[in-house]
């Protein structure tokens, strides 16, 4: 069977043929005839440089296809074809989800990598879209624990969801969609919200069929408040799993560098637990750069302290300590220039960045200067790392 692929398309009914996207495309994947502006499937690398310049929004369309639409087909369109029905299952790493909405969320989250990311070669093959909005999985809340101190104004919770007898294969780094009950003020059901799973593939404890989420309560956030208010025994509707690139290498010799802020720590908790269970010490090594305002606001501060240093090199960085200058992950990264420069050139090293969009630029700049120290051009290097499955960004 042909593996379905994701294709970037332009909606000819909304496009005004201004060719801004064509100008913005760094790889000349976009072209036009007298009728339509179209994207060449073979050339597009999902770098998303064309999205912001489009004045109409017509550029932001995606289809999962078994056979990509050719340029000629696209030239002839008066409107976009509907999404063909594609069965769920194991996917190649060009598909993160089979749902437009989720695909778009993930594309946005992964945009910081500067192009379409690839899964590490040794990563396990992910399953995507086993459950959809029409056919969700139902999980039961097994527990909900506050991770940040009561004094902290940031409430982050660790929520464990029991899947009972439901098959829900999820890998570290993948996300699940949560369907909050109720409707928007326009009467539409709420769209799914994505949460990165913070437990390893075999559950909170080995061989338990559950998963955990790390959720920060947001002011006015429909889904985060719903999740944070859940009590033991409540039922939750899940879709997914989603994501096919932000995955850890299974190679025990791989060296993993994780950079995060806040709830961006979720996948790294899963990565670390997986390593501990599957390999133990003597592996390729794990390094964590973790930024928060203070220890009280750092999710998993306690448990993290207990992970032995020979298993995980920890760099916890705080930006709001009394009488201390503000420090961010990128500051610590710069201090670690020698070690990180080595990482950049080690073919067995994998880098992951996860957290708020706002951290992206700082981290990127830090890597630029670290690369520069050894005479490397970060833009070129980043593309190379990304294409070989060794650089991953998931920000929101």
């Amino acid at each position: 069977m042909t593996v379905p692929v994701k294709q970037h398309l332009i909606d000819p009914e909304i496009c005004i043929r201004c060719h801004s996207c064509e100008e913005a495309c760094p790889v000349d994947a976009i072209t036009h005839d007298d009728n339509n502006v179209v994207v060449d499937f073979e050339a597009c690398n999902f770098c998303m440089a064309c999205i912001a310049p489009c004045p109409t929004g017509s550029i932001d369309n995606w289809r999962v296809v078994t056979e990509p639409y050719s340029l000629e087909e696209q030239f002839s369109w008066m409107e976009l074809p509907p999404q063909e029905t594609i069965s769920t299952g194991v996917a190649g790493d060009s598909i993160e989800a089979l749902e437009d909405e989720v695909e778009r969320l993930l594309a946005e989250a992964h945009a910081g990598a500067g192009g379409h990311a690839r899964a590490p070669e040794s990563a396990a093959k992910p399953t995507v879209n086993l459950y959809s909005r029409d056919n969700p999985a139902v999980a039961t809340v097994q527990g909900s624990y506050r991770l940040t101190s009561e004094e902290s104004d940031s409430e982050v919770r660790h929520i464990i969801l029991d899947l009972g007898r439901t098959v829900f294969p999820v890998l570290e780094g993948q996300s699940v969609g949560v369907l909050a009950p109720g409707t928007t003020d326009k009467g539409q059901p709420h769209g799914p919200r994505l949460y990165s799973v913070s437990s390893p593939r075999d559950g909170e404890r080995p061989s338990t069929n559950n998963l955990s989420l790390t959720v920060k309560r947001e002011d006015g956030g429909v889904c985060s408040n719903y999740l944070c208010d859940l009590k033991k025994g409540d039922q939750v509707k899940l879709t997914g799993p989603f994501g096919s690139t932000f995955l850890m290498p299974d190679d025990p010799g791989a060296r993993i560098v994780m950079i995060c802020t806040g709830t961006g720590s979720a996948p790294f908790r899963a990565f670390t637990m997986r390593r501990q269970r599957a390999v133990g010490a003597g592996d390729g090594g794990l390094t964590l750069f973790f930024g928060a305002r203070s220890p009280e606001a750092l999710p998993y501060f306690g448990p993290l302290k207990k992970v032995p240093e020979e298993m995980l090199t920890k760099h916890l960085v705080f930006s709001r300590l009394p009488d201390q200058p503000r420090r961010y992950v990128q500051d610590r990264m710069r201090e670690q220039t020698a070690a990180l420069a080595q990482v950049l050139t080690d073919p067995k090293a994998y880098i992951y960045v996860c957290g708020l969009k706002a951290m992206e630029d700082g981290v990127d700049e830090a890597f630029r200067s670290i690369a520069g120290e050894t005479g490397l051009d970060w833009s070129a290097l980043k593309a190379e790392l990304r294409d070989s499955g060794r650089y991953h960004v998931e920000t929101y």
């Binding site: 009914e13 909304i14 005004i16 043929r17 201004c18 060719h19 801004s20 100008e23 913005a24 007298d34 440089a49 064309c50 999205i51 912001a52 310049p53 004045p55 109409t56 929004g57 932001d60 008066m78 003020d185 326009k186």
Partner: protein, 483 residues
């Protein structure tokens, strides 16, 4: 290889041209700035100056940075001087200097010509803001109101772009010209704007949409030709302006499209089959298709006049000098000098319209106008597809290029939209079936009532298919009740 153009905010004027290191130009611009703000407050959008508007601001010239959306009060908009990145090793792509390195300074022999082109382009930018200043009072939705203001602030930025070039490269003359750009007024008897179409009123929203579709498209073609210029700073300025111009095309195409859409829907709902039953259609509170066609005829013909005379020595000189190229010059496959080339030019010969081969060099304007017509026809095709989809039997058409012209070879002739030369008497008898008259204007005016509730649209226009910046339908694009 592109060099990055970081935008710096260390002066009052955001820029990526290193203003803080250029005291002379910085000072000149700082002196010009208060006059600009006065102009904006007095002649920019009437009312709404202290309202929060959801606008996009360019914070850098790479694709990621030039569309940051946020609420801002218009007078506080960060008008900046932004040039597209310099292309290293760029050469002059046409004319007698073809292949020579692009100029970073103004070549002495072309100084006057360049200055004139920049001033003409610069004059159109504030002019359209002035023409559109009363429209806010009758916006059919907050979405449209926001789009109007986006167009306005970007025209303001385009004025800045031209003023920067004048200050930076043209010394005292440049400063004088920059002041002049704030002194002329659209429609003024004493000191009008330089081009005719920019002195016409924009009395209603359909006119605004037609203007952004047809007249701003002339702007796009002109900018595209100037983006080819051998004078590199002009080329880079225009290249970045084009990214913003695309939004103006969008407002025009979708504005006219949504008007047509609503009319067709209303006709279907009411079971009206005949589009020419104007009275019945108007009774539905929508603009009948024949009247939309008349508005199209008017704006299209006015816009064609902006291209100047078909055969022009000025245009030939500007091309030859490497100052202003052809549309998408670098994509044309020829010698880029036009030494022996010819181009078919329409002429009026003994009362008939004929095509004659002329030296391509002197037919530069004609060629750009042809490119424009091709470009403009695309949207008309899509409007027709939209009409066809609703099942209404009507097609919009572009009138003949000789119809209703004031400039060029057809200025003296009376020509029907179909291209037939007729007598002045016959023209007078039928004029009102081709061009809007007072009663058409009054009817359109009667529909212009502001709709200020988020997510609501006036009855004569359909909602857009998607929101700006992917916002939901009921997004509050302009906050009318809080400052």
């Amino acid at each position: 290889m592109l060099t990055a153009g970081e935008v710096s905010y260390d002066t009052q004027i955001p820029n990526n041209v290193g203003l803080s290191g250029d005291r002379r130009v910085l000072k000149a611009l700082e002196r010009w700035h208060p006059g600009y703000i006065d102009w904006w407050k007095n002649l920019g959008p009437e009312g709404f100056q202290d309202r929060m508007v959801y606008l996009r601001t360019a914070v850098s010239v790479d694709p990621k940075g030039w569309a940051r959306f946020d609420y801002v009060k218009m007078p506080e908009y960060r008008w900046g001087i932004l040039l597209a990145p310099q292309v290293e090793g760029r050469t002059i792509p046409f004319g007698e200097h073809y292949g020579e390195p692009a100029w970073q300074e103004v070549p002495g022999e072309y100084r006057a010509m360049l200055r004139r082109l920049i001033v003409i382009q610069g004059d159109t930018e504030p002019a359209s803001v002035e023409q559109q200043r009363h429209l806010g009072a009758t916006a059919p939705s907050l979405y449209d109101l926001r789009n109007l203001f986006q167009v306005n602030v970007e025209e303001g930025r385009h004025l800045w772009a031209m003023v920067y070039l004048l200050h930076k490269y043209f010394g005292a003359d440049g400063r004088e010209e920059a002041d002049g750009l704030l002194q002329r007024r659209s429609g003024s008897a004493e000191a009008p704007r330089m081009l005719g179409a920019f002195n016409e009123a924009t009395p209603d929203w359909l006119s605004f949409f037609m203007f952004t579709y047809f007249t701003d498209r002339d702007g796009k073609m002109q900018l595209e030709s100037l983006a080819q210029s051998g004078f590199d700073p002009l080329s880079r300025t225009c290249r970045f302006m084009l990214t913003e111009e695309a939004h103006h095309m969008f407002v025009g195409e979708t504005g006219v499209g949504r008007t047509i859409q609503r009319t067709c829907e209303a006709m279907r709902e009411a079971g009206i089959e005949d589009p020419s039953d104007i009275e019945a259609v108007r009774a539905l509170g929508v603009i009948d298709l024949p009247t939309i066609q008349k508005k199209l005829n008017l704006h299209f013909s006015l816009s064609l006049d902006l291209f100047g005379a078909e055969v022009s020595t000025n245009a030939a000189n500007a091309f030859n000098a490497g100052i202003k190229g052809r549309y998408q010059e670098t994509k044309i496959d020829d010698d880029h000098r036009l030494l022996d080339a010819t181009y078919p030019v329409s002429q009026l010969v003994d009362g008939r319209i004929e095509t004659t081969e002329m030296p391509a060099l002197s037919a530069i304007n004609m060629r750009l106008r042809d490119d424009y017509i091709r470009d403009a026809a695309g949207g008309v095709r899509r409007w027709n597809a939209m009409i066809a989809k609703t099942g209404v039997a009507f097609e919009m058409t572009l009138p003949h290029e000789a119809f209703n012209r004031r400039i060029g070879v057809f200025a003296e002739a009376q020509v029907t939209p179909g291209g037939e030369v007729i007598s002045p008497e016959a023209w007078d008898a039928q004029r009102n079936s081709w061009l809007p008259d007072g009663s058409d204007g009054a009817f359109i005016q009667s529909l212009m009532k502001a709709e200020s509730e988020p997510g609501k649209y006036a009855g004569w226009i359909a909602p857009p298919k998607i929101g700006i910046d992917n916002k939901p339908g009921d997004f509050e694009y302009v906050k009318l009740h809080e400052a």
